[in-house]
């Protein structure tokens, strides 16, 4: 069994959205390399609680890389140094004994800090609500094969649907842009027949909401793609731009008073 680790953490502590925050140094001692990064933080927090100090607040939920909740920037990279990994899937064997680890919250105007490492990602929910949906009649489900969907389209839509909305793309982008997130939603729904009725209103509404939330814009650095735990591709951003251009060219303003007939 490999040796336990002793690390020095530099953690962003901020009491609430209004207070200024600062980095505080904490030792993380006797950490098993088999622990996840979040378990390491749990141990540090137990120590803080025993000493009567306020534990470090951080977001976490499923701890199996699906929910996208465990947002933190570890040594300058969202979810830490490993590719295609969320923080909960990051193990302490990725660090060396004596390492210094800087832990910061997602940094974006659109993601206000709630406390310490926890940020409010409601902006992503509002973008989804602006257009990331399809309209279907409820009731008994349709026969699975009623709508022919080419295998390739189904795969591409599924790849985009792998987005867990964690916000790592925003955190990694030097412009705090959410375009990889948007493009995943636009692609996921826009490639499938069920998504066609709202395809062009969706992209315009979601982009308008993204701008209203004060996310930045894409300058094609590629940091989002590198940080994405689910491997969402920048090709989706180009597809979204394509749909946006077409939507802007063909947009018809809503008719007041309803259509004839």
């Amino acid at each position: 069994m490999s040796k336990d680790l002793n690390l020095t953490l530099h953690v962003w502590r901020q009491k609430n959205a209004k207070c200024d925050g600062k980095f505080v140094e904490y030792p993380a001692e006797n950490i098993s390399p088999d622990m996840s990064f979040l378990e390491m933080l749990d141990i540090v927090n137990e120590g803080l609680i025993r000493k009567g100090e306020e534990p470090i607040t951080f977001d976490h939920d499923c701890r199996e890389g699906i929910c996208g909740t465990c947002s933190m920037v570890i040594n300058g990279r969202p979810h830490g140094p490993r590719e295609r990994t969320t923080t909960c899937q990051l193990h302490m064997r990725s660090f060396k004994d004596g390492d210094s680890v800087t832990i910061e919250p997602w940094r974006a105007e659109a993601f206000p800090v709630i406390k310490d490492l926890m940020v409010d990602r409601g902006a992503l929910d509002r973008i989804i609500a602006a257009g990331g949906f399809i309209s279907v009649p409820t009731g008994s489900p349709q026969d699975a094969n009623a709508l022919p969907i080419p295998k390739e389209k189904a795969e591409l839509a599924m790849d985009a649907a792998a987005c867990i909305g964690c916000g790592a793309c925003v955190a990694a982008c030097p412009n705090a842009s959410a375009m990889l997130f948007l493009s995943a939603k636009v692609t996921h729904l826009g490639l499938l027949p069920q998504g066609q009725p709202e395809r062009y209103t969706r992209v315009r509404d979601m982009v308008a909401q993204m701008d209203a939330e004060q996310f930045g814009t894409c300058t094609n650095h590629g940091e989002c793609e590198a940080a994405c735990p689910k491997g969402i591709k920048m090709e989706n951003i180009a597809r979204m731009n394509r749909d946006f251009i077409k939507a802007s060219l063909t947009y018809r303003p809503a008719v007041v008073g309803g259509g004839a007939g």
Partner: protein
């Protein structure tokens, strides 16, 4: 208010204008960028006449000034000025939006995929704007040229580059152009939605090839004058 109501209110407050939207301004940036890359490529090709001697280059200059009864050059200038204006407008407003989107930076930011060229687009762009103003005052109006003769562009070209400081600034500006083009040519395909896995390598290679060609040939002009190859 529910999340959905907040969304609709937010989007309506912002308006749906193409030019007001971030993606719309990216498209303006990319489309005007294509015009400007096209221009620098043609400009580089036209100046190859300097290697063919004084009469070839002066005839080429005369052609530019007299084509379509002298209207042609003004049509080109109008398109270029509009493109430059829109490009700078889009770049400025998007940059300000992007800076506002990340008011607090990271203590430790690791760049994984971005390039030095992509991170310095703003700086290379500002240096290029300054260079273009100098270049126009130098070889178009002759204001800052030591011995400007409107009737002899070839002599202006040679005499202008004989000043090492002027040549040095041209070379530095061309290296900035290289950084700007290398990221920009690839980046504009992305902003215009022209992406497909089959053409990913082509896009990258086209950007690299065009950049090396334009910058390489452009840098050769001052060097050729300073070394006496063009005299």
């Amino acid at each position: 208010m529910s999340v959905a109501e907040q969304s609709i209110a937010g989007a309506e407050a912002r308006g749906h204008g193409f030019l007001a939207s971030s993606v719309g301004r990216k498209v303006v940036m990319a489309a005007t960028g294509v015009i400007l890359f096209g221009f620098v490529t043609v400009h580089m090709l036209g100046n190859l006449t300097s290697y063919m001697g004084a009469s070839a280059m002066n005839h080429y200059a005369e052609f530019l000034h007299t084509m379509i009864h002298g209207m042609g050059i003004w049509a080109f200038r109008a398109v270029l000025l509009t493109a430059v204006g829109l490009h700078i407008w889009a770049a400025t407003t998007l940059t300000l939006d992007n800076m506002a989107a990340r008011p607090t930076g990271y203590r430790a930011q690791q760049n994984v995929a971005s390039t030095w060229a992509s991170r310095t687009m703003r700086w290379s762009g500002v240096i290029l704007a300054a260079f273009i103003i100098y270049h126009l005052l130098h070889l178009t109006t002759g204001t800052v040229h030591p011995a400007f003769d409107p009737a002899n562009p070839y002599a202006n070209f040679v005499n202008g580059f004989k000043v090492p400081a002027a040549s040095g600034f041209y070379i530095v500006a061309q290296l900035c152009l290289g950084l700007h083009m290398w990221h920009g040519v690839w980046s504009c395909t992305q902003s215009l939605g022209l992406a497909h896995p089959r053409y990913d390598r082509l896009r990258r290679n086209f950007a690299t090839g065009l950049t090396v060609l334009v910058v390489g040939v452009n840098i050769s002009y001052p060097i050729a004058v300073l070394t006496g190859f063009i005299h």
